[in-house]
């Protein structure tokens, strides 16, 4: 059927139909077409098809039409396409164009069917508009209900994406000067993992990338195809992910861009102004919501801050109260331990769940002084901790650092691993865990740059962690504690000083409280116990012997037991006991801790050692009693039952006591010696005067008699002769006595001047003996001489005669009625002379003193004599290079022996026989 034939049908169609010939001119247009396009049917006849199009489409149409003419192929033939058409009045409208071709009468006719899309477009627009409104309201409701922007972001992206039908969206917030990723959304089924991952890591500055573009523009922006935006950092990845069109819009808070939302579509799209307007609105709404959210957040923060400030103020107040209480508590006691215990007790539970305080004791050892725990159930555990795990042995962890470097440590969170590292053993770990250590503060106490201790505060897992304010407060506490510690120490030192001064004053008073130094020493020993020792002994050296021991103990029974022990086992001054060493060296010995080896040194036998062990000696101190140029004795102090120990401070004090005791002993000795000396001298003087007066008596009487007889009548010559002889005899006696006295003073003044010559000993003895004939007879003593011949030495004849005379006259005096034996012999290079009597003898005690000046071994009541004789003998014999000795038993006589050198000291060669 031809077009003409179908014209009536075509005339009635609602769709616009336009037919054109091969050249593209319109040959027919139905009324619908005319109505649609605004031309009359007639007017359209002969118009080119391009006349129905907007000018910009004409070139495309021309090209397509030409191609069709040439090739009979068309891209758009047969399928509906949406194109803009132009009405007569120039208004453009979207139509759906379907092209087809028919042949008629050998000619090709092109049929174009045009469907007005305006309604559809309008519908579409309405739909889109509704979608956009829905998107807006969805986004708005999400943001309205949101507490944080981040929380709303994902939901908003989904609302936008689903409602707008776009494939992928990203939410950016401005933070730290850049737009940073907050959330991503992609349409279900669309995968863009790489792109999303890249976005997550990206951040943009103004003008950088798509978000930066929107930021800089401060309004929504459109990208038709990301592929062509080479400068965008994500462009390549976007394109690779199949993302082409994109838009981004900012939202403002307080007039400034606070964030950007961008969306991507899977195909390139021309700019959609409407969409842009819509998202601009959304941007505005989001901005307001964000502003509200931020305001709310700020309000919440402000409330929280106010809360926190209030809590902090309360905490601060608590801390200040605590510090004030602590300060008062610390200042109220001078007892160091007590003070630090209070610190610990105060800290718990006010600022910590448990607290330990460790301090250096005077010996420099770190001691745990106090442990306090808030939970009474944990008391036992806390005490175990205190007793068993001394702080000095912390293996690792902060403790050693705090102590040595003096730096505080705040460990807000203490993990089990930390505990394990710090624990010295499994047990220690168990205790630490049991006590609950989840947060910890440790502060050192320092005095004048020296660490003196550590305060450790611990909180359990249930309590809030320690923070900076707690650390500062702990440091404040430590400052106060340091002050208290210093005060306590200084006080303690002052106390000790005073105590020491008092002791020394008391000691001096006691030492001089009696004329007998032993009494003073006993009182001193009692003074020292039990304050300064559990027991105390004083041993004095007198004439090379250790005198009976002075013992002090608070319990008299114990003192006695010790005294007995020491008497049973007399100390050997040359032995290896501590006391013996001190006596020899004059240097003190301090044994802070006494162990078996020390006891063994002082033990003379296993039984003795057992007895020493039984004393329970823990600590000992031995100081010398210092005399003028010798050690006069030793003062020993011991701690036993009270378990205390001596330290260097004690040593100093007791050395001073020892010095004073030594002075007292020396003074007593010197006094005794002086007294003795004076007594002997007085005795000597009285005897001397007695001796002198004896011959004077006879002399005086005889002379007086002579005088009387002269007056009365002359005496017969024989009587006169007798009297004169008596007078001469007395004068000689006097002379000898005076010589003796002179000898004494000469000998005292200096060494004797000897006049040596060759002396035959036997011959000299006989000479001296013969002068004693009368006296021997009168005393009834027989003299027996055993004299070796030829014993010749180079000696002072007169002095040696004096020696022999002395011995013989003593023998007569003390051994009257018994024989006297004198021997002289040579023995090796010595000449030996002995004089033996069988008289009253000499006690061993007196033998020692016999050859001393003024020494007398007999009572002055019975025996006259100056007591110089043997001393003079000694002086003379020693001057001749010899020795004198005595052997005697009381009642069994005495043997005096003199040894003289045969070879002269003065190197006279031809003496020996």
């Amino acid at each position: 059927m031809s077009i003409r034939d179908s014209a009536p049908i075509l005339e009635g169609l609602a769709d616009a139909i336009v037919a054109a010939d091969e050249s593209g001119r319109i040959i027919y247009a139905n009324p619908a077409a005319a109505a649609l396009l605004g031309w009359s049917q007639l007017e359209m006849l002969g118009m080119p098809l391009s006349g129905l199009m907007p000018p910009r489409m004409q070139a495309l149409h021309e090209a397509g039409f030409r191609r069709y003419q040439q090739t009979h192929r068309s891209r758009i033939m047969g399928r509906p396409v949406r194109v803009p058409a132009r009405r007569r009045d120039g208004v453009e409208l979207d139509v759906e164009l379907t092209l087809s071709s028919v042949r008629e009468d050998g000619q090709e006719i092109i049929l174009a069917s045009l469907r007005d899309l305006r309604e559809r477009v309008e519908l579409e627009r309405q739909i889109v508009a509704q979608q956009r409104l829905a998107a807006q309201s969805a986004v708005l409701s999400i943001f309205v209900g949101a507490e944080t922007v981040e929380g709303a972001a994902s939901g908003a992206l989904r609302a936008l994406g689903e409602n707008l039908g776009w494939s992928l969206g990203t939410f950016w917030l401005l933070r730290d000067g850049r737009l940073r990723w907050v959330a991503s959304w992609h349409a279900p089924g669309f995968e863009a993992t790489t792109f999303e991952a890249l976005s997550r890591e990206s951040s943009f500055a103004p003008g950088e990338g798509l978000p930066g573009y929107a930021w800089q523009a401060r309004k929504p922006v459109w990208i038709a195809d990301m592929k062509s935006e080479a400068s965008f950092p994500r462009a390549r990845v976007a394109a690779a992910a199949g993302l082409h069109a994109a838009f981004a819009f900012p939202f403002l808070v307080g007039g400034e861009v606070a964030g950007v939302v961008d969306f991507f579509q899977q195909l390139p799209l021309p700019v959609d102004e409407d969409l842009l307007a819509s998202v601009a609105t959304m941007g505005g709404q989001i901005g307001q919501c964000v502003e509200r959210i931020e305001a709310q957040a700020r309000l919440r923060e402000a409330v929280l801050a106010a809360e926190a400030a209030r809590a902090e103020a309360q905490a601060s107040q608590r801390r200040a109260n605590f510090l004030s209480e602590a300060g008062a508590a610390l200042a109220s006691s001078l007892d160091l331990r007590e003070t630090l215990r209070r610190v610990a007790a105060l800290a718990v539970p006010a600022i910590a769940d448990w607290c330990t305080v460790a301090a250096l004791d005077p010996e420099g050892t770190l001691q745990r002084v106090a442990v306090a725990h808030a939970d009474p159930e944990n008391r036992a555990l806390a005490e175990e901790y205190e007793a068993r795990f001394p702080p000095g042995r912390h293996r690792a962890g902060s403790f050693p650092g705090v102590l040595n470097e003096g730096k505080s440590v705040l460990q807000p969170v203490v993990t089990d691993e930390d505990l394990r590292a710090a624990a010295q053993s499994d047990d220690h770990l168990r205790v630490l865990r049991g006590l609950g250590c989840a947060s910890c503060v440790m502060v050192p106490m320092r005095i004048r740059g020296q660490a003196v201790g550590v305060i450790s505060l611990m909180r359990g897992p249930a309590a809030p962690s320690f923070g900076e304010p707690d650390l500062r407060m702990a440091e404040e506490l430590a400052r106060r504690a340091e002050l208290a510690v210093d005060n306590a120490r200084l006080f303690g030192e002052a106390q000790r000083e005073r105590s020491a001064m008092r002791l020394l004053a008391e000691a001096s008073a006691l030492l001089s409280s009696s004329l007998e130094v032993e009494v003073g020493l006993q009182r001193l020993a009692q003074l020292l116990v039990p304050r300064f020792a559990d027991f105390c002994t004083v041993e004095i050296i007198e004439d090379g012997e250790l005198q009976p021991v002075i013992v002090g103990h608070a319990d008299p029974a114990q003192a006695d037991a010790l005294r007995q022990l020491l008497l049973r086992h007399p100390r050997d001054p040359q032995g290896s006991s501590s006391v013996a060493r001190v006596l020899r060296s004059g240097k003190s010995e301090l044994h802070p801790s006494v162990a078996d080896p020390l006891l063994e040194q002082g033990a003379s036998a296993p039984a003795h050692l057992e007895e020493l062990r039984a004393l329970g000696l823990q600590s000992a101190l031995v100081v010398p009693l210092a005399g003028i140029d010798r050690t006069a004795g030793a003062l020993s102090l011991g701690w036993a039952e009270s378990g205390r120990r001596f330290g260097p401070g004690d040593l100093e004090l007791m050395e001073e006591v020892g010095r004073r005791a030594g002075v007292a002993v020396e003074n007593a000795r010197l006094y005794r010696a002086t007294q003795q000396s004076v007594r002997l001298r007085d005795e000597f003087l009285s005897i001397a005067s007695h001796e002198l007066k004896t011959p004077l008596t006879s002399l005086q009487l005889q002379v007086s008699l002579l005088g009387r007889n002269l007056a009365k009548a002359p005496l017969p010559p024989e009587r006169l002769e007798a009297k004169v002889a008596t007078i001469e005899h007395q004068v000689q006696r006097l002379g000898k006595l005076v010589d003796s006295l002179l000898d004494v003073s000469r000998a005292a003044a200096g060494p004797l001047q000897l006049e040596t010559s060759d002396v035959d000993l036997a011959q000299l003895v006989q000479e001296v003996a013969s002068g004693f004939d009368a006296a021997l007879a009168a005393a009834g003593c027989r003299l027996l001489l055993t004299l070796e011949e030829g014993v010749v030495g180079r000696w002072d004849r007169m002095r040696l005669a004096q020696v022999i005379t002395n011995f013989i006259s003593n023998a007569i005096k003390y051994g009257a009625g018994a024989p006297i034996e004198v021997t002289a012999a040579a023995r090796g290079d010595r000449a030996v002379l002995t004089v033996r009597d069988h008289g009253i003898g000499i006690a061993p005690r007196d033998q020692r003193r016999l050859f001393q000046r003024f020494a007398r071994a007999v009572s002055p009541e019975h025996y006259s004599g100056l007591g110089l004789g043997l001393w003079i003998v000694r002086v003379l014999v020693e001057a001749m290079g010899g020795t004198v000795a005595v052997e005697s038993q009381p009642g069994a006589g005495a043997t005096f022996a003199v040894e003289l050198p045969l070879v002269s000291k003065f190197a006279d060669a031809d003496l020996r026989r």
Partner: protein, 136 residues
């Protein structure tokens, strides 16, 4: 009146002879000198060398001196020991004693030994005075 030593009057020991003096001294020269002085004045003299000797002589027959001149410092038995012995013997206790001593404290010592003393060196007058007070 000179009476040479020799025949002593026979005594029964109950009454002292007013001519007899006992001289006790360990020094021979002093014994001799005192004897000379006393015999020159007509006394009879008995001497003893120490306290024990003196007691023996006193307890012997015919020795009842009117006074004893007693030295203090003597061996075997001193003057003090002798005096104590003498005082405890009723037969001897009444015989007066004059201490003759060179001891520096003779006065003090003599006070418990009868109280009479002469300090050596003695003068003849002192000796004769002392003897005459107790003897005829």
């Amino acid at each position: 009146m000179l009476i040479s030593g020799g025949n002593l009057p026979s005594m029964d020991g109950s009454s002292p002879c007013d001519h007899l003096v006992l001289v006790v001294d360990d020094d021979a020269d002093i014994r001799e000198s005192l004897s000379d002085v006393l015999t020159d004045e007509g006394y009879q003299v008995v001497t003893a060398v120490d306290g024990r000797d003196a007691l023996v002589k006193l307890r012997g027959p015919g020795v009842a001196p009117c006074v004893i001149l007693l030295d203090l410092m003597m061996p075997v038995m001193s003057g003090v020991e002798f005096y104590a012995e003498k005082q405890s013997d009723p037969k001897l206790s009444s015989i007066p004693v004059v201490i003759v001593s060179a001891d520096g404290n003779v006065r003090l010592k003599a006070s418990s030994l009868g109280g009479e003393y002469i300090a050596k060196p003695v003068r003849i007058e002192q000796v004769l005075d002392a003897v005459q007070r107790h003897c005829a």
